[in-house]
């Protein structure tokens, strides 16, 4: 029995916990940003490009979405590791983790974007052409804003999944929040309290995301409600 109380032990380990939170948040934010950007671009390509251009992207999206996140993380980590090592570069685990989460997120966002674009009636494109718009202007002023509004709720969903997905990163040796916590637990007997504590932190992070999403939705909504 350790004589140290939960709060005392947490206080003592605060730096490690902060670093854990930072790693998790940093990875999540990067992955969401990169994944959203690449995914939206990919979604547009998959909707409007020629069939043979679409094919490799389609394959990428289906493959990534079809395998567990953990497998994606491991595959990318080991692939990048072996590949870069042959050039004498050592990839930091955090970087590999962010790339892996971004890949998963990109596939998710690409599919979301494609779905949202497909749901926009063809008449919107024609109305844009009729006022003399070129294709790029139609994309930017007409399709993109409508797609983004459509995508917001599922986007929030996928962002929260990404935050939860950061827990996979401990498996490639990144001291994310979960790994840090587990190391702490090994030195005392407050396991339940610690798990409740980090559960609360993940929950708070995702609540912030959902709240932001709801607020954005309210501002952007065009159904008149």
């Amino acid at each position: 029995m350790s004589p140290v109380g939960f709060w005392e032990s947490l206080l003592a380990a605060r730096m490690a916990v902060f670093i854990g939170i930072f790693h998790s948040m940093f990875a999540a934010v990067c992955a969401i940003a990169i994944g959203s950007f690449c995914g939206i671009v990919m979604g547009f390509i998959m909707t409007f490009a020629r069939k043979y251009v679409v094919f490799p992207f389609r394959l990428f999206v289906d493959v990534v979405r079809g395998i567990p996140g953990l497998v994606v993380v491991f595959t990318i980590y080991y692939f990048l590791d072996v590949f870069l090592r042959s050039y004498g570069v050592k990839l930091p685990a955090l970087m590999a983790g962010i790339i892996a989460l971004s890949v998963t997120n990109t596939a998710q966002m690409a599919e979301l974007t494609r779905g949202a674009l497909q749901a926009i009636p063809r008449g919107q494109i024609e109305a844009g052409k009729a006022i003399g718009f070129r294709f790029g202007q139609i994309l930017y002023y007409i399709l993109l804003p409508q797609a983004l509004i459509q995508m917001l709720p599922p986007w929030v969903n996928s962002a929260t999944e990404t935050v939860k997905g950061t827990t996979l990163l401990m498996l490639i040796g990144i001291s994310d929040l979960l790994l840090v916590t587990q190391q702490l637990i090994a030195t005392n007997n407050h396991a339940l309290k610690y798990y409740c504590f980090i559960g609360l932190i993940y929950f708070l992070l995702n609540t912030v995301i959902e709240f932001t999403g709801k607020a954005a939705e309210k501002r952007l909504r065009f159904d008149g409600g």
């Binding site: 009636p121 008449g123 919107q124 024609e126 109305a127 052409k129 009729a130 006022i131 003399g132 718009f133 070129r134 294709f135 202007q137 002023y141 007409i142 804003p145 409508q146 509004i149 952007l220 065009f222 159904d223 008149g224």
Partner: protein
């Protein structure tokens, strides 16, 4: 004889092996209102979409203001203009769609001013002033900040008309502008179109509103069987009814 604003010669359109029409000749002079009538599937919408360059066409030519649009001859080969030029040529025509096709994420004012700002490159304030002027003209001066979802069908179609005419096209094309409307909202839209006609706008109107076509048109075109089957003044078309097909078609409207 004066040069017509819109001159269509030997126009032919196929969807794969399906012929929609062939050998279509049509002239619309400045200030004229021409109505197109005909049975469902006779190619009325397709003809308008060809003029607006939303469809390709396989034969013939369309001249707007004396210049060919859509295709040109190069080394005696027929070539489609590049999209950049097509986009500019589309500004010669304004299109009002059956389903309005307003941009749902923008207000009425945004819908009408978007093209003025981004295509005509007017500064925002000027574009919005111009847009409100047109919204007033169609009787919606008090709804400039409404989203399409907050407007009735008739109001939406009037915004769409303002959006088309604000770009100052040479000719306005209407594809059954009242077909998607509840009967009680048809009148307000037709009145706006009549007003534009009275103000001298050049218009080509596909419609199933025979009384309206009779009243507003200088010329009526009857499409049937992949061609223009009859063309004449409203009196010639609606009262004299020279061909059997025309008689048969008009008898389905008890007017």
């Amino acid at each position: 004889m004066e040069d017509s604003l819109l001159r269509i010669r030997r126009l032919g359109k196929w969807f794969g092996s399906l012929k929609v029409f062939e050998g279509v000749d049509l002239d619309v002079n400045a200030g004229e209102v021409v109505s197109i009538i005909g049975a469902s599937g006779s190619g009325k919408t397709t003809l308008l979409r060809c003029i607006n360059l939303l469809e390709t066409f396989q034969a013939g030519s369309i001249l707007l203001d004396g210049n060919p649009v859509g295709y040109h001859e190069e080394n005696s080969k027929r070539k489609r203009f590049p999209e950049r030029i097509i986009a500019r040529q589309r500004l010669l025509t304004g299109m009002v769609f059956q389903q309005f096709n307003l941009f749902p994420h923008m207000t009425a004012l945004g819908n009408v001013s978007l093209g003025l700002r981004k295509v005509k490159k007017l500064p925002r304030a000027e574009a919005e002033k111009e847009a409100s002027r047109w919204l007033e003209r169609v009787g919606l001066g008090d709804r400039t900040h409404s989203r399409p979802s907050q407007l009735s069908g008739g109001q939406q179609q009037r915004v769409a008309i303002a959006r088309a005419i604000a770009m100052n096209p040479k000719i306005l094309l209407f594809d059954e502008p009242t077909s998607a409307l509840d009967p009680e909202l048809v009148g307000e839209v037709l009145n706006v179109i009549k007003q534009l006609a009275a103000d001298g706008a050049t218009m080509l109107i596909v419609t199933h509103e025979m009384r309206f076509a009779y009243e507003v048109s200088d010329k009526v075109v009857f499409m049937d069987n992949g061609k223009i089957a009859s063309m004449g003044t409203p009196t010639e078309i609606f009262e004299e009814r020279k061909s059997d097909r025309l008689k048969e078609f008009l008898s389905t409207f008890n007017n």
